[in-house]
């Protein structure tokens, strides 16, 4: 997310603060649904601003959000999204790369922290960190489950039975299975060792790549 988009996002957060708690809750569902769309973050924030202002005006007139937007919020969002420019293939790739760098970076920091705890407990050989097959399996499981979970929740934001969905427990089971396989079963398969300074450098580089890509895409 570049500066222009961040600024608009902050303005929208302030604007949403003026909504009644009930309208705010519905607005959150609406925004969550828009987040899963194939539009740029900037476009999403532009639409968010328009809708929030529309609802605030309605609120001032004493109208409910349903009276302003209509009964079917999902149909409204779909109608809006069909009129908003879609991301190009290039934008999608850059955005996915930017997010990927951040996700891997966060997990790499956790991995580094576990490595450091291991040294303190007398495990491992300072200053080397071990990358096992288990680390990679756990990384893949966490990424797949978390991305799947967010996508599923966003796309079903208006589903009142979302809490009863079987997809969420299945994703959580996959996550746990990946973590167990990674940390217990495949722990012994060492792929390579890395100096912790190199690991720190890679973490910094990933963060830098994420920031650079973030500036490139809306």
């Amino acid at each position: 997310m570049n500066r222009k988009t961040k600024k608009l996002l902050q303005e929208n957060n302030l604007l949403e603060g003026q909504l009644t708690p009930e309208n705010n809750r519905t607005m959150t569902d609406l925004i969550v649904y828009l987040r899963a769309s194939n539009t740029t973050a900037y476009q999403q924030e532009c639409v968010r601003r328009d809708i929030t202002e529309m609802v605030l005006e309605g609120q001032r007139r004493g109208e409910t959000m349903e009276a302003v937007i209509g009964e079917d919020y999902k149909a409204f969002c779909d109608a809006v999204l069909s009129e908003v420019p879609k991301r190009t293939a290039g934008q999608r790739i850059l955005s996915a790369l930017g997010c990927g760098c951040l996700y891997v970076d966060v997990l790499a920091v956790i991995w580094l922290a576990f490595g450091a705890i291991g040294w303190l407990l007398g495990e491992g050989t300072y200053p080397w960190l071990t990358v096992t097959a288990g680390n990679l399996v756990a990384l893949a499981a966490i990424l797949a489950a978390s991305i799947g979970l967010v996508e599923y929740i966003c796309k079903n934001a208006f589903d009142e039975n979302l809490g009863k969905s079987k997809v969420i427990p299945i994703l959580l089971v996959l996550l746990v299975a990946g973590l167990v396989a990674g940390s217990v079963l495949l722990r012994g398969i060492v792929l390579f060792r890395m100096h912790f300074l190199l690991a720190l450098g890679l973490i910094a580089a990933l963060y830098g790549a994420h920031k650079a890509l973030e500036e490139k895409v809306d």
Binding site: D50, E57, I69, E83, V84
Partner: protein
């Protein structure tokens, strides 16, 4: 209340006509349409159409602070929008004439008259 299916093809042109009169915003467009007999049309129905007009370069939007409450997005027609409105008026008048002619010609025709039970039963 005009059925939404019937409104579908004409609402965009009608919004163009409302914007064509003066620079205006979503709620005002909805009120104008209600005033002209379209019934209550939620802003949520109008907003996607306004986005489409903007996307197609037929209208342009500008944010202005309202006297009360949050800022408003005002829309005005572009030159392309004015051409599109003129085209809509021509097309709609042609359609309206055709439908009027048809309904006048067929008015009173037995096919469209409510039939009594015996005729329906073929007696």
């Amino acid at each position: 209340m005009i059925p939404s299916q019937m409104l579908k093809g004409t609402l965009e042109g009608c919004i163009l006509a409302v914007i064509g009169r003066k620079e205006t915003y979503g709620y005002e467009i909805s009120q104008q349409l209600e005033y002209y007999g379209f019934g209550k049309i939620a802003e949520g129905t109008i907003y996607p159409l306004l986005l489409r007009l903007e996307k197609n370069g037929l209208a342009e939007a500008v944010y202005r602070q309202s006297e009360v409450g949050p800022q408003r997005k005002y829309y005005r027609l572009t030159a392309a929008g004015e051409q599109e409105l003129a085209l809509f008026v021509r097309n709609y008048r042609a359609l309206s004439r055709a439908v009027d002619n048809l309904l006048q010609e067929t008015k009173g025709d037995a096919v469209y008259e409510p039939q009594d039970k015996e005729t329906v039963a073929g007696k």
